[in-house]
Symmetry: C2
Subunit: 359 residues, 2 copies
Amino acid sequence: MGKQSKHKSALQNKEGVDAPDTISKTAASHLKEQRKKSIDINTLIAAVLEGNKVALSRAITIIESMASKHQEQAKQLIKGCLPKANQSIRIGITGVPGVGKSTFIESFGTLLIKRGKKVAVLAVDPSSTLSKGSILGDKTRMESLVKEENAFIRPSASGDSLGGVARKTREAIILCEAAGFDTILIETVGVGQSETAVHSMTDFFLLLKLAGAGDELQGIKRGIMEMADAIVINKADGENLKAAKIAKTEFNRALHLYPPKDGGWVPKTLLCSAIQNEGIDKIQELISDFIAEGTTKGNFQKKRNDQNKFWLLQTIENRLKSDFFSSEVIQKELKIQVAKIESQETTPFEAAETILELR
Amino acid sequence: MGKQSKHKSALQNKEGVDAPDTISKTAASHLKEQRKKSIDINTLIAAVLEGNKVALSRAITIIESMASKHQEQAKQLIKGCLPKANQSIRIGITGVPGVGKSTFIESFGTLLIKRGKKVAVLAVDPSSTLSKGSILGDKTRMESLVKEENAFIRPSASGDSLGGVARKTREAIILCEAAGFDTILIETVGVGQSETAVHSMTDFFLLLKLAGAGDELQGIKRGIMEMADAIVINKADGENLKAAKIAKTEFNRALHLYPPKDGGWVPKTLLCSAIQNEGIDKIQELISDFIAEGTTKGNFQKKRNDQNKFWLLQTIENRLKSDFFSSEVIQKELKIQVAKIESQETTPFEAAETILELR
């Protein structure tokens, strides 16, 4: 999306009125610059609200920017987009590498668009700074979806912390919603902590799996099974079909051993072949049922409210921790106390008190 | 245990030397009191280290006390006992009410004692302040175990927070270990957050279940299945036996769908009938295998070190949070910001910043 400045878009800067002669050249240029910026953001918000994808992309770039000069703009963007946000279905999609997430999203997204939806695809992948973008980074993936007028695909936000990446993704969701996208797909790799973050920002959480429940489980983090609202066994075609059917029975049996989810939803297992576009419609129907049930029972909005409170408290707690532990004095004492605990000279509780006294 | 002062124990106070006449009556009595207390604690430590159960009970009472005068004594107690602690196997036992935890512990504990072990039974039940001690509170339970010389049974610590209860239990473990108890059983009800705390202070975590995996699952918290090192299906006797065997197959199948635990341990499902003392020996053998494997691979001590670090950081984080949120100004702003989030006027992240600025 780096070439957007070449496009003729709704983002043309309005020409400012010339500065009066009495003001110095520098001050005039400074003022002009200031005004230009503030016009930019308001124009940008207007363009996002009109559903302009180039504007949306530029807005997300500002939100993702680490530069301090963009932070005030980012706040304005969010403020301007918030009233139009929240009107969408947010679906989290996870699974280990190789399970076929991109192909699934391509197939699923295309189906949704055929049914009149506007689909935005985001990704949370805190590891992408190291792996140079392992998911959604390769633009040749999702070849047909990317060409759709009603699709918007955005590679994963990078950042130095999961908290930072999660915040950027949450804010990107707001912008996409404000731009009229009514279905937000958020892709994540089920190997780190990112899927917990994605689970906490989506209405429906879908776990993609393969048949042959052995080796492919190695990579998936404990607890993900329990987060899933549905397990979809992909590549259920050809010679795989039999194994996939057996796996479906096993997963369904396993899911019944779990306690039911809030609101009584019992997670389901479905089969699909994303590459052959088979079973995708059933998944869409399942999600529709889930949303309809949640809306009727009031769980849908309750879950979003809970998620908002979670992120509020989480952000505060993370800041309290990072501020505390960033002190060198604390770090030094922490090492001393850990050594003392290991040599049985103190308990974790006594050690904590000693460290806290240094505040 | 409230009647211990009537017992003739190792805790007789040594008579102090009479105060010289030159010191006022009050000061003398104060000094005497001070000396008596410090003698008490050292004598108490010595008695605990000798394995005196009355002393152990009194020591735990001091640790559990909310009174500020006991806090310095509690620290001395821990300091004195720590070098002798850590030489035990800590086993967490959870399951919903009605699953037969007391009967299981009675049967399992008695077996361990027959095999030469010294068994201490503790309980974590933060709800007990409300329910007036729902577990271990009734002393008529575990009737035969309580009579054993090598058993020590302690009702659950009460407290106003799980953190407080967890700390007291962790410290009680240290005292029990110092008193020579080599197997510590920690009972908890699998309905709240307490089992996460117990999981984080034990070497082996055992989930008790009943056959007929339907209704009894309602009460158990999500995630507990994944914490278990073993699932034991109790009441596998008489007409229940067939259902128990089916349940065993189902749980084993489900457990294989989980990723393996650190160190490669694959959780097992076993059957038992605690009331008929059947299958209990197999459970003991399984735990022995687990410990042997963990000790050989080095996982055993690694897990304890990780747990210590967890409690250290957890204690610090909880204090940072409680100090922050105890402020009235913060509480007031929190309410305002939550309302603003719900009416779409702000995001959780912006709200968090506003609240954090009030520090």
